[in-house]
Amino acid sequence: MSGVDQLFVQLKHWALARCAGILPEAWQPLVSLLLSIIPLLVIFPTLFAAMVWMERKGLGRIQNRYGPNRVGPFGLLQPAADGIKALIKEDIVPRAADRVVHWLAPVLLVTTAFTVYAVLPFGRNMVVVDLEAGLLFFFAVGTVAELVVFMAGWSSRNKYALLGAMRAVAQMISYEIPLVLSTVTVVMIAGTLSLPQIVLAQSPASGWWPAWFVFTPWGAAGFVLFLIAANAEANRSPFDLPEGESEIIAGYFIEYSGFKFALFFLGEYLSLFAVSALGVTLFLGGWHAPYVVGEWVPSWVWFFLKLLAVLALFIWTRGTLPRLRQDQLMNFAWKFMIPMTLINVVIAALWHWIGSGPVRWLVCSALVIGAYSLLGRGLMRAGRWMPRTYRFAE
């Protein structure tokens, strides 16, 4: 059991031991870091290729189409074909563009997207650095993406790009708050900001009810809120206003072509994977099995299975929901998401203080459902059609 579970950890130790004979002592930390980082740099772009294939196939089937089926068996080589196409395309920079910022934006996006993987635990003992403030690190580095999106949109000197960038920044700022607040509940219950510690707090107990945080009233609400906010942070449908192909063509990357466009694409998907992995870590028990019985399956298999399930959910919602309007988006963020996450924080605190027993289940579930239906009713009422008033066009 532990042999397969710790396969990659053992492999790294073995490689490190072999290197120790050849390289000087001072190089050891560097080699150790490289051995941790390089697998990430290989696995996640591969997952990106797989995800693109899965997404196109899944969306196709949702729309009663075949999806890609020409390149390779079942269209499996489609991502490779896309990549080659992106590589050999002409790289166009608009004449009026701000060249340095225009070049910097995609590079920064991919760099930061890769950086956040440093704190995510992919399996037992499989984390690059166990930062004490790991969750904070994740969000701190993740916020750079907002600035990058703005840089891309502004430097292109294109009105659609600028519109897209403004939309993206407004949206990401609005949904950053519920994203962070929904994770605060987990921090409160687990009592730590370190992601490996949070996973340990969800170790399977002997009881019949799994110890994952999603199987609690505040955890279930928090997970749903987290997924919605993550969806908006990743600019995916139904929150894809910044890209809105039918309105502002491609938003902030309208002026990007060839490999820079591919980099943006890669960066977007990498941050989607990162935020999904964070969701798995925080709410779905990370690399833990739901029961002790399930622990014979290697921890990293559990982790990637859960990650793929969350990604499938993202594809499913993308195939279902139409794009929101800007005012609906903002209403939803400020009138539903933020109050709901704040109430959820209070519910988590109650959960902590009431202590174990059926009472806390009853109280917390009632509070979650009550808050949801109240806020939901308010939102539905706000969404009714009203005569439009023009204030500045008179």
């Binding site: 910022v101 969000f139 701190a140 750079v144 600035l147 703005f150 502004w154 600028l162 008033t389």
Partner: protein, 166 residues
């Protein structure tokens, strides 16, 4: 405390600060300010203050820099100004600034508080910060919270007045 990494960070912060003042394009200035924020966060991290460093990054790069960007774009400050960047008497300002800095630096160097006995470096955990904020420094926290709430309510009121029927 003057080590290699510190020197690099200091250079980065200073270059960013000068660029933020000297650049002609306001958006470039904002980006330079963001670089300064990142440099400051790195400086905190280098001093072993993980929580402060990441919080600096989260709040200043993620919120303050974005706010600046919004302010620049919504006020049409994005256009490059035609006239000279500095007023004619700029060297007077520099002279006075340098004089004030020299005086303050001299005063601080003379003060006995500037030379404390070297303390052993402590590893401050996030938990300790949280406990301190909730017990010893709770007043400061509450006052800050009150201030931010007031600001929030003010913002909401401004936005509300804007939308009413005329």
């Amino acid at each position: 405390m003057v080590t290699g990494p510190f020197l690099i960070l200091a250079a980065l912060i200073l270059v960013g600060a000068v660029a933020a003042v000297r650049m002609r394009n306001l958006v470039h200035c904002v980006l330079a300010v963001a670089v300064v924020f990142v440099g400051l966060a790195a400086a905190y991290l280098q001093l072993g203050a993980q929580f402060v460093g990441w919080a600096q990054m989260l709040i200043y790069v993620g919120a303050v820099a974005i706010l600046l960007v919004f302010a620049v774009l919504l006020t049409r400050g994005g256009e490059v100004p035609e006239r000279a960047l500095f007023s004619p008497g700029w060297h007077w300002g520099v002279t006075i600034g340098a004089a004030v800095f020299a005086l303050l630096a001299w005063a601080i160097r003379q003060s006995p508080a500037a030379h404390p006995p070297p303390a052993a470096p402590v590893q401050v955990t996030v938990e300790q910060i949280g406990t301190a904020l909730m017990t010893h420094d709770v007043l400061a926290l509450e006052v800050t919270g009150l201030l931010l709430t007031a600001a929030l309510i003010g913002a909401v009121i401004i936005a509300m007045n804007d939308g009413g029927p005329q």
